[in-house]
């Protein structure tokens, strides 16, 4: 009893039929669509590229040492010497901003990488093994997903003490479930395929299966998830550092540069201290999210 989707019906079905009739098949459509959505992703990529370049060439661009204290000119307004002014200990804001980019991007990337690796591993094991192991891993994933990462990280920072490593591990710890779910799904659907059956009968080991089949198939959606995880990571790091529980001074991070803004005088009369790092976080995370969105549309076969 299948519902015949008559091409006469309004909306999309006619278009599908017409496209098929016009001889256009999926891959071209995919590219076209990718291009259309690409506006946002394109903007995002350009912005991210600028941010990365700025962070990499932080030294030459700013011309100052981010940790050079100059108690003679603290909280100075932007000038020709200090393009973005100085902070409460006289350090050049611009150079701190640029170097902080390295930290934030680094944390975001490593955490996402960790999440993707752990997620892929656990997800494929879960999918291949099935049974109680599958149930256990998925239950674990549920638990980790339902916990608010920020709050747990705060408690951990309190007990163990704030550190970048702890933060990266903690962020990764809360991001792996999404990836694992995805990979598990891919694994499950691949398991039913003929060629995988054949391989298993021929005695292929799980590790080989993972490498040759699961990973290539899972790569597109995992890239999307990974990109979004990077955005999450950067945002979390910024928040933790803002609360004083992440990257500790004197190391510069966009988040801890904003800690200074907890005073009303700073907010109202010294915008150069807090607006640049805030804007930096905002546009970086936005850019990465735009890219992730664009990737998601490019990869989604349904649309």
């Amino acid at each position: 009893m299948t519902a015949v989707r008559d091409a006469d019906a309004v909306g999309v079905p006619i278009a599908e039929d017409a496209r098929v009739a016009a001889g256009h098949r999926s891959p071209i459509r995919l590219a076209l669509r990718r291009f259309r959505r690409h506006r946002m992703a394109l903007v995002g990529s350009v912005v991210l590229l600028i941010v990365i370049l700025a962070a990499v060439f932080a030294g030459p661009i700013s011309g100052h040492d981010p940790n050079a204290i100059d108690l003679m000119s603290t909280r100075a307004a932007p000038s020709s010497q200090h393009w973005l002014g100085t902070d409460s200990t006289g350090r050049d804001v611009l150079s701190r901003l640029l170097y902080a980019g390295r930290v934030s991007l680094g944390v975001g990337l490593s955490a996402a990488l960790l999440a993707v690796l752990a997620g892929t591993l656990l997800g494929s094991i879960s999918g291949l093994a099935g049974g109680w192991l599958d149930g256990l891993i998925m239950r674990l994933a549920d638990v980790f997903m339902s916990f608010p990462s920020l709050v747990v990280m705060i408690v951990l920072a309190g007990i163990i003490g704030p550190s970048v490593t702890t933060m990266v591990i903690a962020i990764g710890m809360f991001q792996w479930p999404t990836c694992a779910r995805l990979v598990r799904g891919v694994t499950l659907s691949l398991r039913e395929q003929e060629y995988v059956h054949a391989a298993r009968i021929a005695g292929a080991r799980p590790a080989w299966l993972m490498r040759k089949h699961i990973i290539p198939a899972a790569l597109p959606p995992v890239t999307v998830v990974g990109t979004l995880a990077v955005a999450q990571g950067i945002s979390l790091e910024a928040t933790m550092s803002f609360l004083g529980l992440g990257v500790q001074p004197p190391a510069a991070s966009w988040g801890n540069m904003l800690t200074e803004a907890q005073s009303l005088t700073v907010i109202s009369s010294m915008p150069w201290l807090w607006v640049p790092p805030g804007v930096a976080v905002a546009i970086t995370v936005l850019a990465v999210n735009f890219i992730g969105d664009g990737l998601r549309d490019a990869v989604d076969p349904r649309r």
Partner: protein
């Protein structure tokens, strides 16, 4: 339906217990002597060594970890979470007096986030693929991307300093308390919390509404003579609401995370601010009490989500 709920409840309770074990592990990982957290400082300072040893035995601190866990857990269930290392007050009462403001903030924040999400989501769905839709999507992406604390800072700059409309900190003005004053203090934090929380909802509502509006039964309703408004509200929206409720319940922990940050920026006297100050002052007993509260909240929200899921969708209910 009954067996499904019972099964989910059991799973959630088991998970909760496991979490408490993890929290308990933290009790021990924390630097310092656990006993300092478990008896009032007055007793600790004035008691003789013998007294303290006796207490140690009573609390099971000289016994196996399992017994210790048992003591600690049963105590916690009875409302005894130890004493603050900083001011010696019972942790439970410290948390207790902070619950109200946090719930107030979270509650109003949730309502606002839903208002924002629904308005943007519905408009975006109705004006699909136009500039309006695009704008709404960018706003929702902004809500998800821009860290809540930065939005808060900008909000304070605009509304408290530049336009002098709203206060920038605290829950009330001690010199001029009253309803209006409370509301004025609540507006900005709740609004920003609501905005920060609305992003994921908005996207979901948009796509849900689009599916509903495109559905065959929406078309049938139109063919019966229903006005567009009626189709949107009575059919599409109502059907969209069902899954949204479950999502809301499941994302309550996220709401708490946002509240913690907002409380810090606005010096709002809630649990979040207490948690952060306890971290800064190394007040381990409060931190651990807070961890238990989070675990309980996660448990409750998962349960709520499960219940809602079955109650609200008749297709599942009748299975």
């Amino acid at each position: 339906m009954g067996s499904y709920i019972v099964r989910r409840m059991l799973i959630n309770v088991v998970v909760f217990l496991l979490i408490t074990v993890a929290v308990f592990a933290l009790v021990h990982k924390a630097p310092g002597d656990p006993i300092a957290m478990l008896i009032p400082p007055s007793e600790l300072n004035s008691g003789s060594a013998q007294f303290i040893a006796h207490k140690r035995h009573e609390l099971g601190l000289d016994q196996s970890l399992v017994t210790q866990y048992w003591h600690w857990f049963t105590n916690a269930l009875q409302g005894n979470l130890g004493y603050s290392l900083i001011n010696g007050r019972p942790v439970t009462s410290l948390l207790g007096e902070r619950v109200g403001p946090t719930l107030e903030l979270m509650g109003v924040g949730l309502v606002l986030s839903l208002l924002i999400a629904f308005s943007l989501g519905i408009i975006a769905a109705l004006r699909r693929n136009t500039a309006v839709d695009y704008g709404a999507t960018v706003i929702s992406l902004g809500s998800v991307s821009v860290p809540v604390f930065f939005v808060a800072l900008v909000g304070i700059y605009l509304f408290s300093l530049k336009f002098q409309l709203l206060p920038s900190a605290g829950i009330s003005d001690p010199s001029a308390p009253g309803l209006i004053d409370s509301v004025r203090h609540l507006v900005l934090p709740a609004l920003i919390l609501g905005f920060g929380n609305s992003g994921p909802y908005m996207r979901y509502i948009r796509s849900s509404m689009i599916t509903e509006l495109d559905s065959d039964y929406a078309r049938t309703a139109e063919a019966k003579g229903a006005s567009r408004v009626r189709v949107v509200i009575r059919h599409s929206l109502r059907n969209s609401l069902i899954p949204v409720l479950t999502i809301i319940a499941a994302s309550l922990p996220q709401l708490l995370a946002g509240a913690v940050v907002i409380e810090q920026v606005f010096a709002w006297p809630g649990m979040g601010q207490l948690a952060i100050s306890s971290v800064q002052s190394h007040d381990y007993s409060v931190m651990i009490g807070f961890a238990l509260v989070i675990a309980a909240l996660v448990l409750l929200s998962n349960l709520l989500a499960d219940v809602l899921y079955t109650v609200v969708d008749p297709r599942v209910r009748l299975r």
